[in-house]
């Protein structure tokens, strides 16, 4: 009897360890949306669930890097969310790891007609992502309390920054209000300077890194000069510091992305958004990388569940929801019909944002881009930390990128 009880208990424990069955009425979305974006998404999902009793849609936030790696690991293990939402740059990696599935067989052309061409991401012959926002781009944000008209060239930027700093005084040699701030950690924030000096991360073949050239050296030298010679940017700044400085009105201008604008408006900042300035030496605009931000379909979804997942997707991409998102977050929508809405046309921030998108360059989605980011990061940080010269950093970036790509393809 005792033995039977033990075996029974053991089987009970083991039964508890079995994987849970997939719920056909539960859709899971992983994303990297910031809190204000999450609020809009959750409100929309709530409306969806109210209209579809019995269906549950769960959204789960993950930090950008974690989202990508966790999604790949989960998906390879046959798990993961039904929909993954994020910028388009990991699409190449998702495709290489075969963790997402093509959407072209699930969404008919009538549905896709209304979308801007940049919002429908085709890669290697398949539609892998459909965006609800385009841009995901950097622009020059300015606080109208400090300046009414944004600078249009780098010379004006330096000049106006010095005027603002002098006007607000210094404490222990440090300006009470900095002219400009941005994130010195992530090379994504360096790209506009690189493009302004005429550089681009990949060669004409779209896969060979091009990081060691005079444009890179000039761009790296320029940002060092902004800090060490002109002293118009903080000594040290990551995303959080730059963001906090702008919110606390301790920096007049900020380079940040469209995901952040709504937060500043809600925080009471008298916000202006302008395209990044032109580098007079080259006559080129500082061009940020632009990318759609949208949904991809997990390769592991059960066939029977796909119609429900697509229904959620169509709902989230609907005209009404896009308009609501654009209105609340001032991000660029992806449906062409929404662009004609008066509240979009008359919105100054959106107008300038769209101008910045037009001056931007699409972010490459090839997996090699991953190696480029990883190779640029140490050099970018070393230049800002004073550990390397611009020339040394450019050489190091190129060498690392080539090696990482070779290792990736081994």
């Amino acid at each position: 009897m005792r033995m039977i009880f033990c075996i029974g208990a053991m089987l009970g424990i083991l039964a508890g360890c079995s994987p849970p069955k997939s719920d056909e009425n539960r859709v899971v979305i992983w994303h990297q949306m910031r809190p204000d974006e999450q609020n809009v998404l959750q409100r929309q999902l709530k409306r969806y669930m109210e209209s579809k009793p019995g269906v549950t849609v769960v959204d789960l936030y993950k930090e950008t890097e974690t989202l990508r790696s966790a999604y790949i690991v989960a998906s390879i293990a046959g798990q993961g969310p039904d929909l993954v939402h994020g910028p388009s740059d990991p699409i190449g990696i998702y495709e290489a790891t075969r963790t997402i599935q093509p959407l072209e067989n699930h969404l008919n052309s009538d549905f896709l007609t209304d979308f801007d061409s940049s919002a429908i991401l085709w890669y290697r012959g398949h539609l892998y992502q459909i965006a609800d926002k385009i841009g995901n781009h950097l622009a020059l944000l300015y606080n109208k309390k400090f300046l009414q008209r944004p600078p249009t060239t780098e010379k004006e930027l330096i000049e106006v920054s010095k005027i603002i700093q002098d006007r607000h005084g210094y404490t222990a040699g440090r300006p009470n209000v900095y002219g400009l701030s941005w994130n010195y950690i992530e090379p994504f924030f360096f790209i506009p300077f690189y493009t302004g000096f005429g550089g681009w991360v990949l060669g004409p073949d779209g896969v060979t890194p091009t990081l060691d050239n005079p444009s890179m050296v000039r761009a790296l030298g320029f940002i060092r000069e902004l800090r060490d010679k002109h002293k118009i940017v903080p000594n040290e700044a990551d995303y959080e510091i730059a963001d906090a400085l702008f919110k606390d009105e301790k920096t007049a201008m900020l380079i940040n992305g469209d995901w952040s604008w709504a937060g500043y408006l809600q925080g009471g900042i008298d916000l202006g958004v302008a395209p990044l300035p032109m580098i007079t030496e080259t006559g080129k605009w500082c061009a940020p990388m632009t990318s759609p931000k949208g949904y991809s379909l997990n390769v592991n979804i059960d066939e029977k569940k796909i119609p429900l997942v697509l229904d959620v997707l169509r709902f989230l991409l609907s005209r009404e929801n896009q308009l609501e998102t654009a209105r609340e977050l001032t991000t660029a929508p992806t449906r062409k019909s929404v662009y004609r809405e008066p509240e979009i046309v008359q919105n100054e921030i959106l107008k300038n944002s769209l101008l910045q998108i037009r001056r931007g360059r699409s972010m490459p989605v090839v997996p090699e881009m991953r190696a480029v980011w990883d190779a640029m990061r140490p050099g970018y940080q070393a230049v800002m930390g004073g550990a390397l010269t611009a020339e040394e950093a450019a050489k190091q970036m190129q060498r690392l990128a080539v090696r990482k790509i070779r290792e990736m393809n081994e």
Binding site: C6, V73, A96, N235, E236, R377
Partner: protein, 308 residues
Amino acid sequence: MNSLLSATEKRFGVGRQQLFIAFLVLPSFVILSGVVFYPFVYNVVLSLGNMNLNRIRDWELIGFRQYVKIFTEPGQPDFYSVFLKTIIWTGVNIVFHVALGVFLALVLNQRLKGKSVFRTVLILPWAIPQYIVALTWRGLFNYEYGAINLIITKYLNLPAVEWLRSPTEAFIACILTNVWLGFPFMMVVALGALQSIPHELYEAADIDGARWHHKLRRITLPLIRPVMVPAITLGVIWTFNNLNIVWLVSNTGEPSDNTHILVSFVFKAAFNFYSFSYASALSMIIFVILLAFTLIFLTKSRATEAAY
């Protein structure tokens, strides 16, 4: 059931008692197999393969090439420099954890007013989640707005330190954070050991005219050793493998991947660079290092002999 047990008894020569024990052990054995043995064996196999971003689903065995690569190809960062940093990281942390922990335990073991309050305050670093601690300290180390530099410049009249921008200072920042985080564990262990030492020994020493340092050397330290040695062993393993602090304080090894210890580099290699086999080989090397350390340390310190 009885006939089944009798048959098993006859065939394998084991009694009902042993079978019963085996059935009790079986669930934990199955669970351990799933969460320890299988991942370990899988990791060994993976380290002999070439799984990376492009071969994530169709990887193949390539022998010891990943191990050779780790030891012979200068990487970014280089294995030997990361290994050296890991040794420094572990050594400095453990020395401070033990020294501070034992010192505070000795203080708390005295008759002291408000002892329970001090004890609670000193355990606080241990009670706060590591993520919160790491991110808070990262903020404290900010060059312009961090509290540490404000104290250094304002009250000590010293120049501000570039804590997170320079490789050495960033590494020191990680160590300082982990020292703050790690000493309460050693303090609690040492305090427990101190409280188990019979007072008669100290009374006898007093009668013999022993001074405080004699008592410390001849009574206290030898008697807390059986407890401290396993704690130090654990501390070394935890510190050697402490990903959170380095990862979060230095923001993934910044500046320029110069603050990595082995385990943070393994994480970066696996989940940022997708070099899964390379990361597996590196983690096997970490395993061998820690296994060797544990065996040597436990044997040399004769901790188990003293305990039993």
